[in-house]
Symmetry: C2
Subunit: 260 residues, 2 copies
């Protein structure tokens, strides 16, 4: 049993890597990451996702700006953009005689809805996390860039994205620098606050307080001016930030563009 549990070390030890050594990632390794990613579970084996490897320097530099000014994006030796993709199915249906089928059966052409979008998003993220784990198994670090959901119209343009696609995550990959290797893992919420049985459970005030006390033991908190605790600090820094405002706008626009 203990030896089996050792298998989980690669997952247990994972942390995001935001600075990369000069080591290139070989084509053989890239190919191995992709091959294992393609084996990720996918709804109905429909593979409602696509992956764009971003190699063009101009595109990489542009992404630094459009994804909330994160210079590491252009420094990552391997950069993968994951799309929710129902467009390939629309193209496949068209070339397979769906118009005739609809006519024979007196049907209107089908247009993907919010459910198809979320199912495709599921596929894309399941593949994305498989790529991250695959890289981890090969000693390669990674960092998710959720900010790719901002500036939808610009990214659509940059990558020639058709109607039934949505860029749901961007992942930077690279071998970690020594500093990154030695960086401690950030603490997560305790299990009892995340995992419930049979019913949702609201977390009580005292549980949040106890968590803060535990966290403060690990690292001295450094709050933004005017913020007297972690929740309010995050409220100011993340939740009500200009990038979240933009993400909310952009995602709404993307859903509208998909469904209208």
């Amino acid at each position: 049993m203990n030896s089996l549990l050792k298998n989980l070390d690669v997952l247990m030890n994972r942390k995001s890597v935001r600075a990369y050594s000069d080591d290139k990632i070989s084509e053989e390794i890239k190919n191995a990451i992709i091959e294992s990613t393609l084996r990720a579970p996918t709804a109905g084996n429909m593979m409602m996702y696509s992956i764009i490897e971003v190699t063009d320097e101009n595109l990489k530099n542009r992404l630094v700006e459009t994804c909330d000014n994160q210079p590491m994006i252009s420094k990552a030796p391997y950069l993968l953009l994951f799309l929710a993709d129902f467009q390939r199915w629309m193209d496949y249906l068209k070339t397979s005689g769906v118009d005739e089928y609809n006519k024979e059966n007196s049907l209107e052409m089908y247009h993907p809805g919010e459910g198809d979008l979320l199912l495709a998003i599921n596929d894309a993220l399941i593949a994305a996390q498989t790529a991250v784990t695959s890289a981890e198994m090969l000693g390669i670090g990674s960092c998710y860039i959720g900010d790719i959901m901002e500036n939808f119209e610009i990214h659509k343009d940059m990558f020639n994205l058709p109607k039934y696609t949505f860029p749901v995550t961007l992942i930077c990959f690279g071998y970690p620098t020594e500093q990154q290797k030695n960086r401690p893992q950030p603490p997560r919420y305790p299990k009892e606050m995340i995992v419930f049985e049979n019913s949702y459970r609201h977390i009580e005030s005292k549980e949040f307080k106890a968590m803060e006390i535990e966290r403060n033991k690990i690292s001295k908190p450094n709050f933004l001016p005017g913020c007297h605790n972690e929740a309010i600090h995050m409220y100011k820094r993340k939740i009500t930030s200009s990038f979240m405002k933009e993400m909310n706008r952009s995602v709404k626009a993307a859903i509208d563009s998909w469904t209208k």
Copy 2:
């Protein structure tokens, strides 16, 4: 190098498991799966997801019906429901004096939008796929039930889900039966149809045809009546099915309920 690539076998050999042996999953193993899942990457370390372990037989039987009549759901020895969850942050903010902070700074209370929903969905799916990989490393099979996105109102009621949560995926776990162990992996699309460089690429008619020819070599196609190829078969069986119609309705209702 070859020995490192061997690490990927667990991902390369993965296939969904839909029938489970009588072996129970021990508490030690469940705990190990959860512990490694909690180390999954999460946006801003905010853990915008929750996991509900479904152990109640009535709830399990009900899920069989509400998730498109899949009896395996009640037979899975370990069943995890993954929620996108911004509610915990709303509760945390409330207990941390956000009302006073807003008053002092002349701000209105923040309400999560579509961007927060999708970021929380990212977190939930990244955690879900970490759980799947973790189980796989321990010899435990799994199957995603995307149908949990149907019947939103019923699931909300069954699991007491508050406003800022969304049940995005359900996963059945169990040790595979011999039949499942020996089942061949289904073929995936060729890499060239999924992975692009710098730009989206529409797949050409001849590529779809070539893929169908390859697939037909592996297994004899068995199409629904009136469907003369795989695309039209999937159009009838999945894309225009009653369960996809319900999923589109349900997800739209869930987004509306989150944002209004």
